[in-house]
Homo-oligomer: 395 residues x 2
């Protein structure tokens, strides 16, 4: 019987991981906060990662994808303030230089260092400041929270979590930090996550666990439907606990970490006033269920209605109608939490006042029952507020 | 040699067409403005129409699609204030009753009457008021503008245009009215267009011309990416001019009408402060060019940047990257009007001040040159403003 207990420490909660952060003034040239950090496993670790599927990939994504190919890594160097995206060959050289400088500091191979950047795009990295910053880093077990803070951009709070999982054989730990899909003046949203564990896992087991867990967490969140050039999720496992959990036990713990961080990202989305869980049920296929849920979650009109506390169902039905899935308006039921707002495609008898109370809450659930098949899919999303627009007006 | 001249009269500019409008208090029960109209050809006419491809179709769309099947129609009855959408079997009966009442007034067959509705969805039609309204309608050649006004919802001005086209054989006329993709409190956007011509056209020629012209006009505009349940474009041709223009001459005139109305719809979009023409060039296929242009035009982040007068290119490149088309960041050029903002995927040397001046204009052009093929596509779109969100907060 395994048991999870929340503990402190974030990415340094697991044995053998240390981290540190410092300020380099990456965005403005003035040092006002930490914007650079390193997470490091003191012993060799297997590693897995998932990256943005955007065809426009930032330089650090390209370098990290190259470095992680053999399935091992010792460290991750991260910065906020500059995404090192759309920076051409110079950007690639800069990302490599960040890995090399980190490798030198830690006395590991450059190919064992992964790189994550977030911030402005199309702007050269201030490499002098960054390299100086890397060389000055002090890593320790207390570095988890400083590292989590250093990657914040428009996030309003640092996002981290750690668990101790007790199994028959003893306990292992898993922790993680993330930064959210907030827009970075003047450019784009990025989701970064670094997770660490002291469990013993094979490379293939780690990759499978991460891929599936990301599918059920970060790949289910959508704020504005725009996918960044820098999105990266990294998981390092160094075996320092000497516990080798079953795939099921490990996956369960990893899911708690990824889902908690994914939820925090949505809740801290820019200008967000509602957290909405959208579930599409009884679709003709998994692909249809996903497409319909995402169409609802990304509909500008649906999101505006939620911002207004409007338990709108016409815009929801409209989105399901245009997204191309198999559906029959006359069969479709729509619920806010457990109350039907439309049954068989026409308005229900639920008092509007009760529905309005739900749509005015900070968090609620919208369920669409298509009744044409057996597949379902759930996504987490937000409303679209005037504040969101204001934050994203750019320069 | 044909020559087009703009004339007055809208849908009544062409010979043999009359129209009329009246107020029924459809939305609120109180008569404050005209909200019902009929456009009528005094002689038999061939007819073509295109309807929303949304699987959720409003009752009037279903009835009109049924009535137009033989390719002939004499009249269109239109109302604002209620979309008669998501209204189940009662809605279908109501749409049929509107056609029947109009047919009775005009002494034509019910199957020769098409129906268009726009406004709130999921709400029963106030049929007593509507039927009384229809029976009281007075039609005349002066009815074009009143009809155009009666279909407005959140439109800030009536949209109509008419042309007289001089050919070798004499002149024919073509006119049209439209209502825009503004949101209707508390529900959804609808685009309606009725065009009329006194040219002689066969049914197949009319259908081809309309289909192609809609493809190059209304199907190239996007404000929020949400497609309504009620979108309808109708074209009636009654031959009263006794002129039979070549397909090319007719198509040219029809394109002027549909493009002008499409542009007016975009310019009058809710909360719009920018009109943006987005062109994607040298894509691998027509489908890719369209997909990339629409991804840019529908990107929440790109639209927010435009609202702020930000000549953003990172968000544009990002949208092209995630939409799934063949592209190579290192080949991609992006222009605001004629000035490059990014060349080969990295920032250009164009002074930012000059680019900002363009992005702050009321209308500008964004061109993305992918350099991977030969296909291009152009769409018209808008920015996304706080005002848009405010207007769409719902109840």
């Amino acid at each position: 019987m395994n048991k999870e207990r929340k503990i402190k420490g974030g990415v340094c909660a697991a044995e053998g991981f240390v981290a540190g952060a410092t300020g380099c003034g990456i965005k403005t040239g003035r040092v006002t906060r930490d914007d650079l950090s390193v997470v490091y496993s003191e012993v060799p670790a297997v590693a897995a990662a998932t990256f943005t599927t955007n065809k426009v990939k930032a330089a650090p994504v390209r370098i990290s994808a190259e470095h992680i190919r053999p399935g091992r890594a010792r460290a991750v160097v991260l910065n906020s303030g500059n995404a090192n995206a759309c920076t051409g060959p110079n950007g690639l050289a800069d990302a490599r230089a960040m890995a090399s400088a980190t490798a030198k500091l830690l006395r590991v191979k450059s190919s064992q260092v992964l790189v994550c950047s977030t911030g402005r795009i199309g702007v050269p990295m201030p490499m002098d400041a960054i390299l100086k910053g890397i060389s000055s880093l002090k890593l320790s077990r207390a570095g988890g929270t400083p590292a989590a803070k250093s990657i914040m951009t428009s996030d309003t709070f640092a996002k981290e979590i750690a668990l101790e999982v007790t199994t028959h054989d003893g306990h292992f730990r898993i922790g993680g930090m993330a930064k959210g899909a907030g827009m970075i003046d003047p450019n784009m949203a990025t989701m970064l996550c670094v997770a660490t564990t002291d469990a013993i896992l094979s490379g293939p087991a780690l990759r499978t666990a991460l891929r599936e867990s990301v599918e059920d967490s970060f790949n289910r969140i959508t704020i504005d439907g725009d996918m960044s050039t820098n999105d990266t999720v990294i998981l390092l496992a160094n075996g320092a606990s000497r516990i080798s959990p079953s795939p099921k036990i490990f996956r369960h713990a990893l899911d708690i970490v990824t889902r908690a961080l994914a939820r925090l990202i949505v809740e801290d989305g820019e200008g967000v006033s509602r957290f909405v869980e959208v579930e599409v049920r009884r679709a003709a296929s998994k692909a249809d269920a996903r497409r319909a849920a995402e169409a609802i979650a990304n509909s500008t009109l649906v999101k505006c209605a939620w911002a207004g506390g409007d338990p709108n169902w016409g815009r929801i039905l409209d989105a399901v109608g245009y997204c191309g899935v198999k559906m029959d308006e006359a069969k479709t039921d729509i619920f806010y939490d457990d109350l039907p707002v439309a049954l068989g495609g026409v308005v229900s008898k639920t008092p509007v006042k009760k529905l309005r109370q739900i749509a005015a809450k900070k968090a609620f659930r919208v369920t669409v029952d298509l009744k044409v098949g057996k597949a379902s899919h759930m996504v987490w999303t937000t409303d679209l507020t005037e504040e969101y627009v204001r934050l994203n007006l750019g320069e």
